[in-house]
């Protein structure tokens, strides 16, 4: 009896030793390792111990290549798994193995060879026991992924700091990019020379690491950002045409960024960034509304939409003297074909029904006068129209191209008297830079300084009250 007890105690002791060894080796251990670690026991005894532990569920088998490994199962894990069925345990194991990447239901079905219904039931059970959770990936928003409840999803799944609730937070990106741009702009030009530039060997342009430090030290955002994230933002700004990349001097000397080194050992270039100067010049397309016209594709010289009838052209280029006094927004032009005579009369001017007040009588008189005026205008218009038709049908002599009201006469007067002008228009005889300021000023809208372009923080992830006063002070 005592002998059998001793044997049991010895076996339990050995099981304990093997279990402890297995727990110490999270990657698992094999028979050779046991042989070396337990030299006092014969291998058969050790194998019996392993079998006992496997049966009790305290060890689990793993196959790595051709090797068989044993991994110790923690007591807490053992306890967790104790209430699970075989299928649930299988599903749980696969979910656990997927780590923080999660596993899709269809992949789970392929790996476990279980029926869809069984898998659904298992997943439901595991979710009820608060062992797993379901998440959605930003890459595949329609897929439902499962992972362990205590793990946080990887950045590939969540999309990193640029995503909020599985959606790209463009507002946050724009505001952070504006802050970066503003910082780079301040560092890009000498403060004492507003129109000056730094010399070619100036190496103090900000780098991504410096901008990252600025963002984190000033607490611009509460989201943890890495230098790589800042570089993504800076790349976006480069593609926005707001900043440009400059290679550090020693790399330029080596024949470009990373030049002169083997491809395998190519180090990452630590770019410098310089803001491009904000120009106060606008595009020639800003002069006319055609650039942003919503009906541009339907515009032609015939039909309902023509440049002759274009309301946008009238409003944007301020062609009508009467319209000049009206502050009509270019972004909200009048609808095409809108007749200004069709505007509703204010309700206060209308008299009560059935009563003819003094105002109403006055209105009738004014109406009659207006009708007479309209008839006169119609008569003049029809006459003009006839004349205009005649004007268009004028013969060759009328279109010599030597327009007397041409500004070239001014030049003729200043050069050699007596020479008739041609149709070359010298008032426009400068290119976009060379216009006299009086001519061009009406077209130019001064560009807003960078500070004005930084949007106020509407996102709660960014400090909206941030000012750059501290930079000025420094």
């Amino acid at each position: 009896m005592s002998g059998s007890l001793d044997k049991e105690e010895q076996a339990a002791l050995m099981d304990r030793e093997i279990y402890d060894l297995a727990l110490q080796q999270p990657e698992g251990l094999d028979a050779d390792f046991l042989k070396v670690a337990l030299p006092n026991y014969p291998l058969e005894v050790a194998v019996n111990g392993v079998n006992r532990l496997l049966k009790a569920g305290r060890l689990e088998l793993m196959q790595v290549g051709t090797r068989i490994l044993y991994r110790g199962v923690h007591a807490s894990e053992l306890e967790r798994m104790s209430g699970l069925t075989g299928d649930e345990r299988l599903v749980y194991k696969h979910i656990e193995n997927s780590g923080n990447e999660g596993i899709w239901v269809r992949t789970l079905k392929q790996k476990t060879n279980l029926l869809q219904g069984v898998i659904t039931r298992c997943l439901k059970g595991l979710e009820q026991k608060a062992l797993i959770k379901s998440i959605k990936s930003v890459k595949h928003p329609t897929r439902k992924l499962y992972m362990m409840i205590d793990l946080s999803p990887s950045t590939d799944i969540t999309g990193g700091p640029w995503y909020t609730d599985q959606e790209m937070d463009t507002d946050f990106i724009e505001q952070l990019a504006s802050q970066c741009y503003k910082y780079i702009y301040i560092q890009s030009y000498p403060r004492a020379m507003p129109r000056g530039v730094y010399s070619a060997n100036h190496m103090a342009y900000p780098k991504s690491s410096v901008i990252h430090r600025h963002i984190s030290e000033n607490g611009i955002t509460n989201v943890a950002l890495s230098v790589e994230h800042i570089e993504e933002l800076l790349t976006m700004l480069v593609y926005d045409g707001k900043i440009e990349r400059l290679a550090p001097a020693f790399e330029m000397d080596m024949g470009g960024a990373g030049g002169g080194r083997s491809l395998g050992a190519k180090p990452k270039t630590d770019w410098m960034y310089r803001a491009l100067r904000v120009t106060d010049k606008d595009s020639p397309l800003t002069d006319i509304p055609c650039g942003r016209c919503p009906v541009y594709d339907r515009c032609s010289d015939t039909g309902a939409i023509t440049p002759s009838k274009c309301e946008y052209l009238k409003t944007d280029t301020n062609l009508n003297a009467d319209d000049a006094s009206k502050p009509t927004s270019p972004s909200q032009p009048k609808p095409i074909g809108n007749n200004s005579n069709e505007t509703d009369e204010p309700s206060s001017n209308r008299s009560p029904k059935g009563k003819l007040s003094g105002g109403a009588i006055g209105g009738i008189v004014v109406g009659l006068l207006l009708a007479i005026a309209a008839a006169v205008v119609a008569f003049i218009w029809s006459r003009n129209r006839r004349n205009r038709r005649l004007y268009h049908a004028n013969d060759f002599e009328e279109f010599k191209g030597f327009s007397p009201d041409s500004h070239t006469n001014l030049i003729a007067a200043t050069t050699i008297a007596g020479y008739g002008g041609d149709s070359g228009r010298l008032y426009s005889a400068r290119d976009s830079r060379g216009y006299p300021s009086s001519e061009i000023s009406e077209f130019d809208e001064p560009a807003a300084p960078p500070s004005a372009r930084v949007a106020n923080g509407s996102s709660n992830r960014i400090r909206s009250d941030l000012s750059f006063r501290h930079l000025d002070e420094s």
């Binding site: 959606e167 790209m168 463009t170 990106i173 020379m193 507003p194 129109r195 000056g196 530039v197 730094y198 010399s199 070619a200 993504e232 933002l233 790349t235 593609y239 045409g241 440009e244 010049k281 595009s283 020639p284 397309l285 002069d287 006319i288 055609c290 650039g291 942003r292 010289d301 440049p307 002759s308 274009c310 052209l313 280029t317 062609l319 003297a321 003009n384 004349n387 205009r388 268009h392 004028n394 060759f396 279109f399 191209g401 030049i411 050069t415 020479y419 041609d422 149709s423 070359g424 228009r425 010298l426 008032y427 426009s428 400068r430 290119d431 976009s432 830079r433 060379g434 216009y435 077209f443």
Partner: protein
């Protein structure tokens, strides 16, 4: 050729020459080369009017002609050159350039020649009344004419210049083939064509200036010499009148032989717009550097281009001559704003203070010392040649270096800028970002584009389709399987630069057309009023115009001015997009 381009050309011709000429040009542009017999019924004009219109157009270099034998008849065919019509829009720019470089006298001569298309110098003299001028004015006139010819602002016209270039080449080919006894093989034909093109190229490259004579000078008094205008290269210039045989310009100083240029007054000249396009392109390059850096950098570029433009005959030139930094230093304008152009100090806190603690104010640009000026210029040159565009390259490190302008790179940079501005204006900054990503990374899947532009993929896809519809970008199919099943294909977005340029040009043509049409409408709405201002009684007594009419006239002038400025600015975009590109200039050689 695009519909919009033809539409714009019609508008321009109507504005400059009237509806009859417009009808003729419209038919020629739409249907290609036509004979007079075909042209008359299509233009729906009388034969006399069509003939007169063709005469005017040939005179102005817009239409060319070529004779072809058809049976027993020799038929003359007429073709239109749309590029020369589009240049009419740039007339103001050309005149301003000539005025800037040749002064008001040069402008007067150039304008006279430009207004009549082709003209002899004798005719210019008559128009400008040179005979009635004083001796000094005549000398000045002679000098400026010689300078215009020598610097190729105007060039001599040959009889073959009005013959269609393609026909000329075909005729040359036929005459070469006729010399052979047996029909040529394909190889021989190719050799003949190459030879003809080489001959054309040789003629183009020739440095001979036709219409100008250079002679050794006779004795001349020092007093006379002082009044004689000296050319840019130090040579005295003069004008010879063949009618009298009298030689007006002679020079001889300190016993040294001087050369005098005299212009043949019977020779016909025309404005050489290809040469003037070089100056316009150069101005665009200067603007690029002024915008990117500052006016000082722009002034430096201007100096470099001024030095090189003597050797840059047309926009076909891809690389400029090399210029030493010393030459640049000498040619930078004394008024150039160099004082605050660059920070050359070694430390960040470079502001200097005087003894009383006040900041030291730098002198104005004109008062800068030679050392300080050279320091600023050399520092700015370093900045310019390290610019990411690669327009200015340093070709030699010896001394303070030699520089060269790469016009091909300049054309690409300016064009990209122009297309970016167009997309930015039409669609917005995000679309412009997408465009830049595709330009930088070449062919990309939409997911990668979305990642690079930091946009949600749906929004990115939507914008990519916007750009594709506008013809700015395109897709290419990469099949995953041999059956090229659309569902198993990668669709990569990329920039088809030819297509992009075509759509940009179409847009600019249409926009210019709209502006001109609107201008015509505004003018026609006030035609009666304008007609009234031309009446003799109103010209004699302007008080016959009412206040309202005066106000309306002012309004019309304002509208015309605005629309004209808009049109010229749009034209500068077109110039950048296409005309100044060395490749397109090469293509146009045969037109």
């Amino acid at each position: 050729m695009y519909t919009q381009q033809v539409g714009l050309c019609k508008q321009i011709v109507r504005e400059h020459y009237g509806p009859i000429v417009e009808a003729v040009v419209a038919v020629l542009a739409r249907e290609g080369r036509l004979s007079l017999r075909q042209l008359v019924p299509r233009a729906k004009q009388t034969p006399r009017n069509v003939r007169q219109a063709l005469a005017v157009l040939i005179q102005h270099g817009i239409v060319t002609h070529a004779m072809s034998k058809e049976g027993s008849l020799m038929v003359t065919y007429y073709s239109v050159c749309l590029k020369n019509i589009l240049r009419l829009q740039r007339a103001g720019l050309y005149l301003a350039l000539v005025e800037e470089r040749m002064g008001s006298e040069g402008l007067a001569v150039f304008r006279t020649i430009m207004a009549s298309g082709v003209s002899t110098i004798g005719n210019v003299c008559e128009v400008l009344g040179v005979a009635e001028m004083g001796k000094a004015a005549k000398l000045k006139f002679n000098a400026v004419v010689a300078k215009l010819v020598r610097d190729r602002y105007i060039i001599a016209v040959n009889t073959v210049d009005t013959i269609t270039k393609a026909d000329r080449i075909m005729q040359a080919e036929v005459s070469e083939v006729e010399k052979l006894t047996i029909p040529p093989t394909a190889k021989e034909l190719l050799a003949i064509r190459r030879k003809i093109l080489e001959r054309e190229e040789e003629e183009y490259q020739s440095s001979n200036v036709v219409g100008i004579k250079r002679r050794a000078s006779a004795d001349i008094s020092a007093d006379h010499l002082s009044k004689l205008h000296m050319g840019a290269d130090g040579r005295a210039v003069a004008f010879s009148s063949h009618g009298t045989g009298e030689q007006n310009g002679h020079s001889h100083a300190n016993g040294e032989q001087q050369q005098v240029d005299s212009v043949d007054d019977k020779q016909f000249f025309r404005a050489y717009f290809d040469r003037l396009d070089v100056f316009l392109r150069n101005q665009q390059v200067v603007n690029y550097f002024t915008d990117k850096y500052n006016a000082g950098a722009g002034a430096l570029l201007k100096a470099i281009l001024r030095v090189t433009e003597q050797h840059t005959r047309t926009c076909r030139v891809k690389l400029s001559e090399t210029v030493s930094s010393t030459q640049i230093f000498q040619h930078v304008s004394p008024d150039a704003p160099l004082v605050d152009a660059i920070d050359t100090s070694k430390d960040m806190f470079h502001q200097k203070y005087d003894a009383s603690g006040n900041p030291v104010v730098e002198p104005s640009s004109k008062e800068l010392s030679r050392e300080r000026r050279s320091e600023i210029i050399f520092a700015l040159l370093e900045v310019i040649h390290t610019d990411s565009s690669g327009i200015v390259a340093k070709v030699d490190e010896r001394g303070t270096g030699q520089y060269r302008v790469n016009f091909e790179r300049a054309a690409i940079t300016l064009r990209e800028r122009c297309v970016d501005a167009l997309v930015h204006e039409k669609f917005g900054s995000v679309h412009a970002r997408l465009l830049r990503v595709l330009r930088d990374k070449q062919k990309l899947d939409e997911k990668v584009v979305a990642q690079a532009t930091m946009l949600p993929i749906a929004a990115c896809r939507e914008r990519l389709h916007d750009l594709a519809l506008a013809g700015v970008i395109d897709t290419i199919e990469i099949p995953r399987s041999a059956d090229r099943n659309p569902s198993r294909m990668f669709y990569l977005w990329y920039i088809n630069s030819d297509k992009q340029m075509r759509s940009a040009m179409r847009f600019v043509y249409q926009a210019m057309s709209n502006v001109i049409e609107r201008g015509a409408k505004e003018a026609s709405a006030r035609a009666l009023l304008v007609a009234k201002t031309r009446r003799q009684d109103v010209i004699a007594d302007p008080s016959l115009l009412t206040d309202g009419e005066r106000k309306e006239l002012q309004n019309l002038a304002r509208i015309k001015q605005r629309l004209a400025v808009a049109s010229v600015r749009l034209d500068s975009m077109l110039l950048v997009v296409y005309d100044t590109d060395p490749h397109s200039a090469d293509l146009q050689l045969l037109q």
